[in-house]
C-alpha cells in the first residue's frame, strides 16, 4: 500500500452535494407545502367569512350621470327593468324617453285633453291617466330588449294605449286615482272633487276569458263609497288584487274598505299619526305583496302598518309594526321597490331608502336638488330622480341583501301577518312578494335544544362507564371494552338517523311512560342492588369479584327494561287518563300531554334525538374521559388506597378531581359533536323551526337547515349567504368548544407532569 492511501480523504465526512441539494430542496418543499396546506385548511373559515360579509354591508349608492329633459311640466317619472331608459309623462300628454347615451324621443299618449291626475303602477306595467272630461285612459308601458348576436342591445318601449273608460264622475274633477287589474277584473277607485268637498267612487269592470282570448272589460258595478268613510277623502291606494281600497282623509284617518264578493265594506279605520302634531298623511302606498302600507305624515315621520290577525281577532287588520326616523321636510314621493320590501321616501332634496322588514334605513342622503318624482327599476339596482329643473338624475344602487343584517338574524322582528315581534325562520315562499324570515335564533335554539337532550342522555352513561372502566375494570376486560366503545364512535350518523326515525320513533311513540319508568327505575334498582350486595356477608360477596360487577347487570338491565316496557302501559292507564271524544276515559299519554301542557306531541321528537345523538356522543365522551382518568398518576391512587381509602373513595375524592379538567374537555368535545351533527337531526326530527323546550316536539338545527336548504339556494343570494352565516356560527361554536377542551387538556398534561 502506498503511503498516500493511508492518509484518509479529508472530505470523507462531507456529505455528497447531491444529498445536500436534496436536503435543501426538501426543506423548502415541505416548508412551503406544509404552510400552504395548513393555510388552506385554516382558510376555510376565511372563505366562509368572505361569503358572509356582504350581508352586513350598507348599500352603495353612486351618482351615475344626469340627463336633460325638454322643458315642461312632468307628472311622473319611470324607468325600465334594466335601468337604461328613463321616461316621464309631460302634462301635454307626451311620454318623453331619455335613453342613456341616446337621443330623446317622445310618444304621444293623450291628444288634446287635459290631464287631471295619473297613477302609475310599474308592477303591472300600467299607467292610468284621468282626463278632464271624466274618462280614464289605460296605457300599458312595457319594454323590450333588442339582442344582437347574443349581445344585449338597446331597450325599446312598447306602448299600448287602451280604449278610454268613461266613468260616471258626476261632472266633478278627478283628484286621485288608483286601480288594480287582473285577468278577469279591474277595479278603479277615484276621488272626485265637486265644489268644496270630495267624493269617493269605485268602479268594477269584468271580462270573460274565452277560447278566442280575453274579451273587453265591461263595467259591472259602480260604487259611491262616501257613506262608508268619514271626513274628506284625500288619498287612495288599491291593493294589487283589488280587494282592498285604502282611503286617507284630510284629518289623517285611514279607512280600510274591503271588497267582499261585489260589495265594499268598511273593515277598519285608524289614525296612524294621531299621537303626533301632524296627523295628516303626506304619502301612502302599499309595499310589494300588498300586506304593508307605508305612510308618512306632514312632519316627515314614517310609519308602516301591516295586516295581521290580532290576538283574539279573526280578521286581518292593519296595525303599526314599524316606525322610521323623521325626515326634515314633508315627504312628497314614496317609491316601493318591485323586488323586495324596500321603499324610498323623498322629502325635498333628501332621499331615504328604507327596508320595511328590518326597520333599517339603508341609505339616506341630501341630493343637492329638489326632487319632483322618483323611480326604482325592477332589478332594484338603479334609482331615478326627476328634479324640479327637468333633469333626470340616475343613481347606481348596489343593495343585494337589504333583508339581511344583525337585526334580521338575531333580533326580534315584527313580520307581516304576525301578531307581534318574533324570532322566525322561513326562508322561502311561493311568490316574489314573500317576506323572507331569516332569524337564526330558532335554529340556534333548536341546535342547543337537541344538544341539551343528547347530553342529558349521554353524559351520565358515558362518565359512569368511563369511571368504571378506568378505575374498577380488570385490564383483560378493558382490552375488549375500550375498542368496542371506540368502534361505536365511528357508526355513521346516517345509520343512527335512519334507525331513530324509522325504528325508534314508531317504537316509542306510544311507550313514553315505559321510557320514563326506565329512566327512574334503572339507576335506582342498580344502586339498590349495589347497596344490598355490599351488606351481604363476604363469602357471598366474593362470588362476584371486583371489576366484574357490570357483567351481572347485563341480565338485570335486560330484565328491568323488559319489565318497564310492559309496565309502561299500565302506568299510562292509571296516571295519564284523558277523556276521549266518545266520552270514555282512556289512558293515552300523547293526548294527556297535549291536554295538560298544550304542547304538541310529535312522533319524531327530541327524545329520539336525545337517544340517537347520545349514541353518537357517548363513545367520544367515554374515550376521552377514560383516557384522562387512566392517566392520573398511579402514585396518587396508591397513596389513597394505602391510607385506607376504599376504591370508590379513591375514585371519587382523588382521581375524579384530579382529572376533572379532562372530563370537562371530554364534555366540550362531545358538545361540539352534538352541535354539528347533521344527518341524525335531519332524519329524526320534523325539521320545524320552532322555539319551545318541549321534549316531545321536533326542532330544526343549524346544520340540518344547511343540509336541507343549501342545495336549492341560488348562488350568491341572501339565503345562500345566510346559510353560510349559519355554517360560520357552527364553525366558530365548535371551534371554540374544541379549543377550550384542548387548552384544558394541555393544562392537565402539564399538571400530571408536575405530580
Amino acid at each position: 500500500m502506498s503511503p498516500q492511501s493511508r492518509i484518509p480523504d479529508p472530505d470523507r465526512f462531507k456529505p455528497s452535494r447531491r444529498v445536500l441539494l436534496i436536503d435543501r430542496l426538501m426543506t423548502k418543499l415541505i416548508s412551503i407545502g406544509g404552510i400552504g396546506i395548513i393555510a388552506a385548511v385554516l382558510g376555510i373559515l376565511a372563505f366562509i367569512a368572505w361569503q358572509v360579509v356582504p350581508l352586513f354591508g350598507k348599500p352603495e349608492v353612486a351618482a351615475d350621470g344626469e340627463l336633460a329633459l325638454p322643458a315642461g311640466d312632468y307628472l311622473m317619472a319611470g324607468i325600465d327593468e334594466w335601468g337604461e331608459l328613463p321616461f316621464a309623462l309631460a302634462s301635454n300628454g307626451d311620454l318623453v324617453f331619455v335613453p342613456v347615451g341616446g337621443e330623446v324621443f317622445k310618444r304621444r299618449v293623450v291628444d288634446g285633453a287635459k290631464i287631471e291626475c295619473i297613477v302609475y303602477r310599474p308592477s303591472d306595467k300600467r299607467l292610468l291617466i284621468g282626463l278632464e272630461n271624466g274618462s280614464v285612459l289605460p296605457v300599458v308601458i312595457d319594454f323590450k330588449r333588442n339582442f344582437q348576436d347574443g349581445e344585449a342591445g338597446s331597450v325599446e318601449p312598447q306602448i299600448e294605449i287602451g280604449d278610454p273608460l268613461d266613468l260616471d264622475l258626476g261632472g266633478g274633477k278627478l283628484t286621485d286615482l288608483s286601480f288594480a287589474e287582473s285577468d278577469e277584473a279591474r277595479i278603479i277607485a277615484a276621488i272626485v272633487e265637486s265644489g268644496e268637498t270630495h267624493q269617493l267612487k269605485a268602479f268594477r269592470f269584468t271580462r270573460k276569458n274565452t277560447l278566442l282570448g280575453a274579451s273587453k272589460f265591461t263595467l259591472a258595478d259602480s260604487y259611491e263609497l262616501g257613506g262608508l268613510i268619514a271626513g274628506d277623502p284625500l288619498k287612495l291606494a288599491v291593493s294589487g288584487r283589488g280587494d282592498m281600497v285604502m282611503v286617507a282623509n284630510s284629518e289623517g284617518e285611514v279607512f280600510y274598505l274591503h271588497l267582499e264578493g261585489d260589495r265594499f265594506a268598511l273593515r277598519q279605520s285608524f289614525s296612524p299619526f294621531a299621537d303626533t302634531g301632524a296627523p295628516q298623511l303626506a304619502t301612502f302606498d302599499f309595499l310589494i305583496g300588498d300586506t304593508t302600507l307605508a305612510m308618512s305624515n306632514m312632519a316627515g315621520l314614517n310609519r308602516n302598518f301591516s295586516l295581521f290577525i290580532p290576538e283574539g281577532g279573526d280578521e286581518r287588520l292593519f296595525g303599526q309594526t314599524k316606525e322610521f326616523a323623521s325626515l326634515d321636510a314633508t315627504p312628497t314621493v314614496l317609491v316601493p321597490s318591485l323586488r323586495n320590501k324596500s321603499f324610498m321616501l323623498v322629502a325635498g332634496d333628501e332621499a331615504s331608502l328604507r327596508h320595511h322588514t328590518t326597520n333599517d334605513v339603508r341609505w339616506q342622503e341630501r341630493l343637492g336638488f329638489q326632487v319632483a318624482h322618483a323611480a326604482i327599476n325592477q332589478k332594484h339596482n338603479r334609482i331615478l330622480f326627476l328634479d324640479q329643473a327637468d333633469r333626470f338624475h340616475l343613481y347606481e344602487l348596489d343593495d343585494p341583501h337589504p333583508e339581511a343584517g344583525w337585526q334580521a338574524y338575531f333580533g326580534k322582528i315584527w313580520y307581516e301577518d304576525a301578531p307581534g315581534p318574533a324570532y322566525t325562520w322561513q326562508s322561502t315562499g311561493g311568490t316574489d312578494a314573500f317576506e323572507p324570515k331569516l332569524s337564526l335564533i330558532p335554529l340556534i335554539f333548536g341546535t342547543l335544544k337537541g344538544t341539551l337532550y343528547a347530553m342529558l342522555f349521554a353524559i351520565p352513561i358515558a362518565i359512569l362507564a368511563a369511571v368504571y372502566t378506568s378505575q374498577f375494570l380488570s385490564s383483560r376486560h378493558k382490552a375488549i371494552v375500550k375498542p368496542t366503545m371506540e368502534v361505536m364512535a365511528s357508526l355513521p350518523s346516517v345509520v343512527l338517523g335512519f334507525l331513530g326515525a324509522l325504528w325508534l320513533a314508531p317504537l316509542i311513540e306510544h311507550r313514553t311512560p315505559s321510557l320514563a319508568l326506565m329512566v327512574v327505575a334503572v339507576p335506582t334498582v342498580c344502586f339498590l342492588i349495589g347497596f344490598c350486595w355490599s351488606r351481604l356477608p363476604i363469602p357471598i360477596r366474593r362470588r362476584i369479584p371486583p371489576g366484574k360487577e357490570f357483567l351481572v347487570f347485563a341480565p338485570v338491565l335486560i330484565g328491568l327494561g323488559f319489565a318497564c316496557w310492559h309496565l309502561g302501559p299500565v302506568i299510562e292507564r292509571v296516571f295519564f287518563v284523558v277523556t276521549a271524544d266518545d266520552g270514555q276515559r282512556v289512558g293515552d299519554f300523547t293526548a294527556w300531554w297535549y291536554q295538560t301542557t298544550g304542547l304538541r306531541y310529535e312522533q319524531r321528537n327530541c327524545l329520539i334525538i336525545g337517544v340517537m345523538m347520545g349514541f353518537a356522543v357517548i363513545p367520544i365522551i367515554f374515550t376521552i374521559t377514560e383516557d384522562a382518568l387512566s392517566s392520573v398518576p398511579e402514585s396518587l391512587r396508591s397513596a389513597s388506597l394505602a391510607l385506607g381509602g376504599s376504591r370508590w373513595q379513591t375514585a371519587w375524592r382523588i382521581v375524579l378531581p384530579t382529572a376533572s379538567a379532562g372530563i370537562f374537555s371530554a364534555v366540550m368535545i362531545g358538545l361540539g359533536r352534538a352541535i354539528g351533527e347533521t344527518m341524525i337531526v335531519t332524519m329524526a326530527t320534523g325539521n320545524t323551526p320552532i322555539m319551545e323546550l318541549n321534549l316531545f316536539s321536533g326542532m330544526r338545527t343549524l346544520s340540518a337547515n344547511i343540509a336541507t336548504e343549501l342545495p336549492e339556494a341560488p348562488e350568491g343570494g341572501t339565503l345562500y349567504r345566510t346559510l353560510f352565516l349559519g355554517a360560520m356560527v357552527l364553525f366558530m361554536l365548535t371551534f371554540l368548544l374544541n379549543t377550550i377542551a384542548e387548552v384544558l387538556r394541555q393544562h392537565l398534561r402539564e399538571k400530571y407532569k408536575t405530580i
Binding site: P15, V19, I22, M26, I30, S31, G34, I37, I38, V41, I44, P460, I461, A462, A465, V467, V481, P483, E486, S490, L491, P492, V494, V495, F498, L499, A501, H510, G530, W533, S534, R535, P537, I538, P539, P546, V552, F553, A554, V556, L557, I558, F615, F622, S646, Q649, W652, I675, G676, T678, T682, M683, S703, F724, A727, L730, F731, F735, N738, E742
Partner: protein, 560 residues
C-alpha cells in the same frame, strides 16, 4: 388462604363493604348500559338487515267467510308474513304480508287483521318469480307459452329445467341489450353531443359565412350522418333483441284464482319458496346476498342491488385517500420536523386538531361555495367554454372530484394528528444515531422517521377512510345522487370521470328512508344497506385499532 375463604374474619366493620360500594355498582351500570346499547343497536340492524336476504316461506291465507279486504278480490291470497303487531286502538293483532304481484293488486304490502284469517297454509306449488318491475310474481305456475306456439304445462317434468334455461338465455340477452343500449348507443350519443358543441364552436370561430365554415360544417355533418347511421343499425339490433325477449310467456294463477302472464324477458329468477330445505335456503341466501352486492338497483333503489353505491363509495374513498395522504403527511412533517416549535406552532397545532371537531356540513358548505361555484366555474369557463355558454355545467356542479376533495379537506386533521403523534413517538435515539452517522435531516426523516412512523400514518389514513366512507351530510351538497346512470370509473377514456355524480351507500340509506315513494317497500333494503355500511366502517376502524395496538407494542420493545 383456605381459612379466609371458609369463614370471615375481622370485626363487623371490616366485614361490611368498603365505603361507596353502591356507587361502584352504579358506575358499573353505566358501562353495562353503554355496552348493551351498542350491542342492541348492532343487533337491531343485523336482525332487520339479514332477513332481507333470507328466503322466506310464502303463506297462502284463507280468509274467514264474509271477510273482505280491499284490493284482494277473493277469499285467498298468498304472501310472505313480514310483521305482526298489536293495534293500539282496538288491541287486536294484525299481520303484514308481502304480496308481490303489484301489477295485479296495485300494492305490495297489506295489513290483515288476524281475526279475518281462517287458515294459513304453505302449498308447495307456489312459485315466486323475481322480475324487473312490480316486485315479485307469486302464484301457481300453469304453463309456459313458447315462441313457436308450443305450450309446456307446469306438471311436465321438464318445466323447471326449461324455465331455468329460458331465464338464463333471457339474462344473457339482457346483458347484451344493456351493453348495446348503455355502452354502444351511449357512446354514440356522447359523440353526437360533442359534435353539437363543435358546431357551435365552429360558428363562433368563423362568424362570417365562408368556405372554411362551410367545410367545417360539412365535416361535422358527414360525421353526424355516419354516427346516426350506426345508431340506426344498433337500434335495429336492439329491437330485434327486445322482440326475442318478448316471445316466451309464463302463465300463472294467483291465489285468488285470477290468471296472469309474465313475459319472461323481464324475469330474473324463480324459486318455489315452500319446497326449499335448509341447505337450499342457505344457497338462495348467499345468491341473494351476491345479487345485492353485484347488481344494479331497480325500482327506485327499492329492489335489486347496490353495486353502483358500493362502487361509488369505494372510488370516492380511494380518491379521497389519495388526496389526503400526501397533504396530511407533508403538513405533519412540516409541523413536527421543520417548523420552529413555539407558541405559534402550538397554536396552529391546536387549530388543526380542532378542525377535526368542526361539523362535516361546514366542509360541505365550503366545498359547494369554493370548489363548485368558484373553482368549478373557473374550470368551466376556461376548458369547457362552449358547453358553459350553453348553460351546461361540467365542473360547476357536484361531482366525484369535488366530493373527494371536500372529504379530503375534512379528514386532513385526522391524518395530520396521527402522523404527528407517530413521528413524535419515534425514539429520539434513532434520529440521533442517524444524524451521528452523517445523514442529512431529510435522509433521517426519509429513512428512519417515516418508516418508523408508517404504521401510525396508516392508522390515521384508515381512520380518515372510515370517517369519509360513513359521512353523508357534506356529500349531499357536493355531488352525491340517488341514482347515477354511469359509474365514475369506466373503460372509456379518461377512465375516471371526475365530473360525474355518483351514488353512495350512506346517501342511499337517507334516500331510501326519506325520499322513497314507497317507504314500506324500501325499509328492508335500507336496513340491509345500513348493515353493509356499518360492516364496512367497523372493519376499517378495527383495522386502525389493530394497527395502532401493534404500533404501541413495537415501540415498547424498541425504546432504549
Amino acid at each position: 388462604m383456605s381459612a379466609r375463604n371458609d369463614k370471615p374474619t375481622g370485626s363487623a366493620d371490616e366485614r361490611r363493604a368498603a365505603a361507596g360500594e353502591p356507587m361502584v355498582w352504579l358506575s358499573g351500570m353505566g358501562l353495562a348500559l353503554g355496552l348493551l346499547l351498542i350491542i342492541g343497536l348492532l343487533g337491531i340492524i343485523v336482525r332487520n338487515g339479514i332477513p332481507y336476504f333470507w328466503p322466506k316461506r310464502v303463506a297462502e291465507v284463507t280468509l274467514v267467510q264474509g271477510a273482505e279486504i280491499a284490493g284482494i278480490g277473493g277469499q285467498k291470497f298468498s304472501g310472505e308474513l313480514r310483521m305482526q303487531r298489536t293495534k293500539r286502538d282496538s288491541g287486536t293483532e294484525e299481520s303484514q304480508f308481502y304480496l308481490g304481484n303489484r301489477d295485479i293488486y296495485g300494492f305490495s304490502f297489506k295489513f290483515v287483521d288476524d281475526s279475518q284469517i281462517a287458515e294459513l297454509s304453505y302449498p308447495e306449488g307456489l312459485i315466486s318469480v323475481e322480475r324487473e318491475e312490480y316486485g315479485r310474481a307469486i302464484g301457481y305456475p300453469i304453463k309456459l307459452v313458447l315462441a313457436d306456439g308450443t305450450e309446456l304445462a307446469a306438471s311436465d317434468d321438464e318445466f323447471d329445467t326449461r324455465l331455468e334455461a329460458i331465464i338464463d338465455e333471457v339474462s344473457d340477452r339482457r346483458a347484451e341489450i344493456k351493453h348495446i343500449a348503455k355502452g354502444k348507443i351511449g357512446k354514440i350519443n356522447r359523440k353526437i353531443d360533442a359534435l353539437k358543441f363543435k358546431e357551435i364552436e365552429a360558428r363562433k370561430k368563423f362568424v362570417e359565412p365562408s368556405d372554411k365554415l362551410g367545410a367545417a360544417l360539412d365535416e361535422i355533418e358527414t360525421e353526424r350522418a355516419r354516427l346516426e347511421e350506426r345508431y340506426e343499425v344498433l337500434e335495429g339490433e336492439l329491437n330485434e333483441l327486445y322482440e326475442l325477449q318478448e316471445k316466451d310467456h309464463l302463465i300463472y294463477r294467483i291465489s285468488s284464482g285470477q290468471e296472469s302472464d309474465i313475459g319472461l324477458g323481464e324475469t330474473i329468477g324463480f324459486h318455489y319458496p315452500n319446497r326449499l330445505g335448509f341447505v337450499a335456503r342457505c344457497g338462495l341466501f348467499l345468491s341473494n346476498l351476491w345479487a345485492y352486492l353485484s347488481q344494479d338497483p331497480r325500482e327506485a333503489n327499492t329492489e335489486g342491488g347496490v353495486f353502483p353505491a358500493i362502487f361509488g363509495t369505494f372510488v370516492m374513498t380511494l380518491l379521497m385517500s389519495a388526496l389526503v395522504t400526501p397533504l396530511g403527511v407533508i403538513a405533519a412533517i412540516y409541523l413536527r420536523e421543520y417548523a420552529k416549535q413555539g407558541p405559534l406552532v402550538r397554536a396552529v397545532r391546536i387549530s388543526v386538531n380542532n378542525l377535526a371537531g368542526v361539523p362535516s356540513i361546514v366542509f360541505g358548505v365550503f366545498g359547494l361555495g369554493f370548489f363548485i361555484y368558484i373553482v368549478g366555474d373557473g374550470i368551466d369557463n376556461f376548458f369547457f367554454k362552449t358547453k358553459a355558454s350553453e348553460g351546461i355545467p361540467t365542473f360547476k356542479t357536484g361531482g366525484l372530484m369535488w366530493a373527494s376533495l371536500t372529504l379530503a379537506l375534512m379528514t386532513i386533521p385526522v391524518v395530520v394528528v396521527a402522523t404527528e403523534e407517530a413521528l413524535a413517538a419515534v425514539p429520539r435515539g434513532m434520529r440521533e444515531a442517524s444524524l451521528a452517522c452523517g445523514a442529512s435531516k431529510w435522509q433521517t426523516i426519509q429513512r428512519i422517521a417515516l418508516p418508523a412512523a408508517l404504521p401510525g400514518i396508516i392508522t390515521g389514513l384508515v381512520l380518515a377512510m372510515a370517517r369519509g366512507a360513513g359521512e353523508v351530510a357534506p356529500l349531499m351538497l357536493v355531488g352525491v345522487v340517488e341514482s347515477a346512470n354511469e359509474l365514475p370509473l369506466t373503460t372509456e377514456p379518461p377512465f375516471i370521470h371526475m365530473d360525474q355524480k355518483f351514488m353512495h351507500l350512506g346517501f342511499q340509506i337517507y334516500d331510501l328512508g326519506f325520499q322513497s315513494p314507497d317507504s314500506e317497500a324500501a325499509r328492508p333494503i335500507a336496513f340491509a344497506t345500513a348493515l353493509l355500511l356499518i360492516v364496512l366502517v367497523v372493519i376499517l376502524n378495527l383495522a386502525a385499532i389493530i394497527i395502532r395496538q401493534r404500533l404501541r407494542k413495537k415501540f415498547i420493545t424498541s425504546t432504549f
